[in-house]
């Protein structure tokens, strides 16, 4: 129980706080009225703005069949960012294409070329790994998702000469979605229409360059974990000669065709350069 003198002090403090609060509220109201109308939306939370996150289409949009690919998210670089993921690395060498050619080396070499080619076309490209390091598929997805790319491209290589494969995620159905939280294994689901658009543009660019390309779905991680349009490209020799994969001119042709396809996809999606 409080004493009388204590009560008086407490009441005085309350009165002082109420007066100060009223003054601050009045000042805030006056200040809000003086903010120019154009600047006012910036003070609103992003979730209230319909254009706050154009790169994150809701699952409902996808289910309604809206195939408009998303563009760069607010707050990131104004230029479209393409995240290139050279598959494998470190002790995980991927396919042993021949005794001297490992998949991890081919994918890294191609990724570096592609970065240069995309840069030359006015895009920003980053590599998920730029050295011979081990990265799990979860690490790759987390790193790429954190960068909010406009497109994620995963690179693989095979010794089988069945044409170049352009893959999108094989997802049967959307996982559990709870507000902003999506199921990790099916995070790609709402981006599949945009991923298919990218797949078609890349396959068309490959065909245009005289390289046979096939569009398929595949149970390939981390495609299903990506929260952006995502494709995987599997490089394959044109004939049975695996050494072609490491040839500079062959890689350059593939890289140029890939960059053309990506540029076409970004152009059709309205992404700025």
């Amino acid at each position: 129980m409080l004493s009388n003198s204590g009560d008086r002090g407490w009441l005085a403090r309350c009165r002082w706080a109420a007066t100060a609060g009223a003054l601050l509220s009045a000042l805030a109201l006056i200040g809000a009225q003086t903010i120019p109308p154009a600047a006012a939306p910036q003070t609103q939370p992003q979730s209230q703005s319909p254009t706050a996150q154009p790169s994150q289409p809701s699952p409902n949009q996808a289910s309604r069949g809206q195939t408009q690919p998303p563009v760069q998210s607010v707050g990131a670089s104004p230029k479209p960012l393409i995240m290139i993921d050279p598959a494998h690395g470190g002790s995980e060498s991927g396919a042993v294409l021949n005794p001297t050619i490992l998949e991890k080396d081919i994918t890294l070499a191609l990724a570096r070329r592609l970065r240069v080619d995309l840069g030359g076309r006015g895009f920003v490209a980053e590599l998920v790994r730029d050295s011979d390091v081990n990265l799990s598929t979860d690490d790759r997805a987390a790193k790429a998702n954190a960068a909010h790319p406009t497109l994620y491209v995963c690179l693989h290589a095979t010794s089988e000469s069945g044409g170049i494969g352009i893959y999108t995620a094989m997802l049967a159905e959307n996982g559990e979605t709870n507000g902003p939280f999506v199921d990790w294994s099916t995070a790609q689901f709402s981006f599949l229409p945009a991923s298919h658009a990218a797949q078609q543009e890349i396959a068309a660019a490959m065909q245009k360059s005289g390289m046979p390309a096939r569009s398929l779905t595949a149970p390939l991680r981390p495609l299903g974990n990506m929260t952006s349009p995502a494709v995987a490209v599997e490089l394959a020799p044109m004939k049975a000669d695996v050494s072609q994969l490491s040839a500079a001119d062959f890689q350059q042709n593939i890289s140029a065709a890939l960059a053309n396809g990506i540029a076409q996809f970004l152009s059709s999606s309205g992404a700025p350069r």
């Binding site: 095979t158 010794s159 089988e160």
Partner: protein, 198 residues
């Protein structure tokens, strides 16, 4: 003075030791010189009993990367589970043959197939199966689509398939195809259409 009996005993023991050493040395020489028995790589699948049946299997062709329906005649048991195992063993025998269109190791084997109602099949393959698998997105997808579609075509009601290796879950088949989840039969049917229409 050393007793005579003791001397005789020691001499006999010494002679015995020498003789045993010579015998062991000869045995060792014989063992090194003889040819080593070759490791048997063929798998020993349990014999399937039952009448011969004509079934449709989906066979992978690495070149040009296709999946084709093919009719083969194999003995199939009456039981549903034994039938599923027989089907896949018949399919695998095509891949382990010398002129295979999608080679797997000679020791590749379907260990068991578990049919879990409603509509779930669990295929358990051995480690030789994955060790002999060509690494690549398309090559691994062909293997999985071949297994799943063959089973689904001949076992009505199947909706999902899970693949284990030596009874355990493995991350990928050979570095690419994801084995951590369940394969949806409808999705695989779509993939088979894509792989057949090339």
């Amino acid at each position: 003075m050393i007793p005579r009996q003791f001397l005789i005993t020691v001499t006999l023991l010494f002679a015995l030791t020498i003789a045993m050493s010579v015998y062991v040395w000869q045995l060792q020489r014989h063992e090194i010189g003889s040819p080593r028995p070759t490791e048997k790589t063929e798998h020993v699948a349990p014999p399937t009993s039952g009448p011969m049946e004509q079934v449709t299997v989906y066979v992978a062709f690495d070149s040009p990367g296709e999946l084709r329906a093919q009719s083969i005649s194999i003995p199939l048991a009456a039981g549903r589970q034994q039938r599923a195992e027989g089907l896949l063993r018949g399919l695998i025998s095509l891949y382990t043959a010398k002129d295979s269109t999608h080679p797997l190791a000679a020791a590749a084997e379907i260990r068991q197939v578990f049919l879990v109602d409603p509509g779930l099949a669990v295929i358990d393959v051995n480690s030789a199966f994955v060790e002999g698998q060509v690494s690549g997105v398309l090559a691994e997808e062909l293997t999985i689509a071949s297994l799943v579609q063959t089973l689904a075509t001949n076992m009505p009601g199947l909706t999902r398939v899970k693949i284990l290796v030596d009874g355990k879950e493995q991350e990928t088949l050979a570095g690419h195809a994801d084995l951590t989840g369940f394969y949806d039969v409808q999705q695989i049917t779509e993939v088979v259409k894509q792989l057949s229409a090339q």
